[in-house]
C-alpha cells in the first residue's frame, strides 16, 4: 500500500493543489497499485516514516503563517526523512517554507524550515503566467508546463534547480532557473496544477516511491494522449513546438 500524506489540505489549498494528489492517486490506481491518502492538519500526529509521498501545497500569506509554527516542531523529523529519501513535492508557498528564510518588503526576515539551501525575498512585481521548464527525469529530457503566480523570488544556494526556464519567469525572473531539487524532493512554482498534465513527472515520483520499496516492476506504461495534448497546446502557444 502506497501512503500519500497531504499536509494541511485545509490551509494549503490554493490554485487547485488537490489536482496533484488526484493525479498521483489515479496513476497508481490505473496500475492496480493500492494507494491511500492521509490528510494531516495542524497538531495532528504525523510520523514521516509511515509515508511514501508527501505533498505540501501553497496558501495565502496568512494561512502560511499559521502552519509555520506547526511545521517548525516537526522540522528535525522532516529533515531526517528527506535525507533518507522521502519523496516530496512542494509547490509555491510549500516550496518557500523549506528554504532558509523569507525576506519581506519591509526587510523583516521570516525564518523558514532551513532544510534546503535557498532563500526567498518579496519581489516588486508578481510573476504571473504560463511557464515551460526543461528538466531531466531519469535520464530523459522532459518539458513541463504549468502556470506560476508568486511575488516571492527565490534564489538557490548549493542546490539543484528543478529545471531551466524555457518560457515564463521561474524562481525569480532573472537567473533562468525554476524550482529546486534535492534527493527525492521536488519544489516548483508551477501549479496549473503540475502533476495531472505532466504525466512523466508524476510517473517519475511514483517510480521513486516504488524504487524505495524495490517494486519498480509495477510501473506499467499508461495512455497519456490527453495529458500530452494539453501540454502541447501550451508549448505551441509559448512558441516551443
Amino acid at each position: 500500500m502506497i501512503k500519500i500524506c497531504h499536509l494541511y489540505p485545509d490551509l494549503l489549498n490554493l490554485y487547485g493543489d488537490r489536482g496533484n494528489i488526484i493525479a498521483f492517486q489515479q496513476r497508481c490506481r490505473w496500475r492496480n497499485i493500492p494507494v491511500e491518502v492521509h490528510e494531516v492538519g495542524i497538531g495532528d500526529v504525523l510520523y514521516f516514516d509511515h509515508f511514501d509521498f508527501l505533498f505540501l501545497g501553497g496558501g495565502s500569506d496568512r494561512e502560511q503563517n499559521l502552519i509555520v509554527a506547526d511545521l517548525m516542531q516537526r522540522r528535525n523529523e522532516l529533515k531526517e526523512a528527506i535525507e533518507k529519501g522521502l519523496v516530496l513535492l512542494a509547490i509555491c508557498g510549500g516550496y518557500q517554507l523549506l528554504g532558509k528564510y523569507y525576506l519581506t518588503r519591509e526587510g523583516e526576515n521570516i525564518p523558514g524550515l532551513g532544510i534546503l539551501d535557498f532563500y526567498t525575498r518579496a519581489g516588486d512585481r508578481r510573476l504571473v503566467g504560463n511557464v515551460a521548464v526543461e528538466t531531466n527525469l531519469g535520464g530523459e529530457t522532459v518539458i513541463l508546463t504549468g502556470f506560476e503566480n508568486h511575488s516571492g523570488q527565490t534564489y538557490l544556494g548549493s542546490i539543484q534547480p528543478l529545471g531551466k526556464v524555457r518560457s515564463g519567469n521561474g524562481n525569480n525572473g532573472e537567473d533562468g532557473w525554476e524550482g529546486a531539487r534535492y534527493k527525492n524532493v521536488f519544489c516548483s512554482y508551477l501549479h496549473g496544477p503540475l502533476l495531472p498534465k505532466n504525466a512523466r513527472l508524476t510517473d517519475h515520483l511514483i517510480f521513486l516511491v516504488l524504487k524505495r520499496r524495490n517494486r519498480q516492476e509495477l510501473l506499467k506504461p499508461l495512455d497519456n494522449t490527453f495529458e500530452d495534448r494539453a501540454c502541447r497546446v501550451m508549448l505551441g502557444r509559448m512558441g516551443l513546438v
Binding site: Y15, N149, P196, V233
Partner: protein, 459 residues
Amino acid sequence: MKIGLFFAIMAGRLVAFASRVSGRKGSSLPGVIAGKIYYRCLRDLAGQVREGIILVTGTNGKTTTNNMIAGILEKARFKVVANFEGANMVSGVTTSFIKKAGLFGKIDCDYAVIEVDEASVPRVMKELKPEVIVITNFFRDQLDRYWEIEKIVGVIRDSLNKYGYATLVLNADDPLVAQFGQITRLPAVFYGIGRHEQTTDTNTRIREAKFCPFCGAALAYDFFHYGQLGNYRCTGCSFKRPEPGVEAMGTAVSDRITCRIVYANGPEVPLTMQTMGIYNLYNALAAFATGLHLGIDTGIILNGLNSYQPVTGRMEKFVHQGKQVFLILVKNPTGFNEGLSALFLNREKKDVFIAINDNDADGKDVSWLWDVDFEIVGNGHESFRRFICTGRRGEEMAVRLKYAGVPRDKIAVNPDLKQAVRKVLEGGNGQSYLFSTYTALWEVHGILKTMVAGGIKHD
C-alpha cells in the same frame, strides 16, 4: 451644457453604433472612448439620477441580482438605468449611462442599478454616490487577478469607510460578507436562508472563511447551504450569523424553488422561482431586501421577481427537436459545482459540453478546474452519454474529466466550437448541458441561436 460631456457622449455613441453594425459585442468600448474624451463623463451622468443609485457587487450572482432589482423597480414604474450586459468595470458602467443619455447629456432616470466588479468598487465609487450597496458573496474567482479574498474585502471596506453614506444589503449566511456590518460604519440589512431539507451538517469542501475574520478562531456551523454559506458562529468571540431581516423558510428545491419569505414588519409571503439552483434564491432575497428598503410594496416586488427571465448563460433553456438544452456560464469552482448539481436532479440521459477559455476575462489560470468536484460526474458517469470539451483549454478539461474518473471513451476534444455544439445536440432524447466560460459564452449562445432558426425553438 458641458461641451466635454457632449463630445464624450457623441463619440461613445458612434463607437456603440459602429460595433453594433460590425456585429461585435462592444459592451464597454463606448465608455472607454467617452471616458478618454471627458474624464468627468460618468460623474456628470450619474449625478442626474433622481432617486438613487444601487450598486451590486460580490463574486457570484451580481448580474442576476442586478437584473432582478431593475425588474422590480420597473414594475414599480420607475425609470431605470442598469448595466444589463455584465459590463461591470468603470468603462462598462459609463457605457450603460451613455446609452440612456440624450446627445446633450440629459438622463431621464429615477434609479440606476449597477453591478460592479469587486476590484472596481473603489474606482466606481469615486464617480457615483450609491444609496444602497448590495454584497452577494465572496468566493475565489480568477485567482490570477484577485489572488486573495482578504485583499478584496479590505479594498471594499476602505472604499466604503471613506465614503461613509449608504445602506448595505448583506448576505447574512456568508461570514465574509456579513462582517461588513461591523467593519464599516454603515447601516446594514441582512438576508439569508433558513435550514431546509437540503442543508447539510458538514461540508468537507469548505474553502474560504474557515476562521473568524475578527479573532482568527475557527467558525462552528449548525448547517451549510454550500461553500461557506450557512449558519455559523465564532468559537472565540461574539461574531455570528446576523439575524436576517429577510429570510427564506421551508425552502424546497426540485426543478424549481419554493419557499416562504419571512421579513420584519409584514406577513410572510410565498415565493416560487422557475429555476434550479439555490444560488438563485439568494439573488432573489437580495433583490427582495433591496426592494423593501426602498419602500416598494411586497406585491410589486414579488411581481417583479416572478417575471424575471434568466439572462444569457444563467441556466438559459432551449429546446432542440424535443431535447432540452441548458446553457450555463461558469467562472469559478462554486458556480461550476452548483451547475453540476443540476445534472443530478432528474434521471434523463445527458450530453455535456464544456468550453474553457483562458482569455483575460475568463482568468488566464485554469487551475481552478481542479477545485471543481468533477468527481461526482466521474462516479455517476452511467447517466452521461458523452462529454465534449472545447475552447482554448479544451484539452486541459479533458484531462480533468479523465482524472475525475470519466471513462476515456466518453470524453472527446473538439476545438471547433460550432462542431462541438452540434455534437452535443445530437440524438433526439435526453438533455444537453452546455457549460462555458465568459469569453466563449457569446459565441456558444450565437451558435445555439442560429440553430434555433434551423429547428431549435426558444422555450
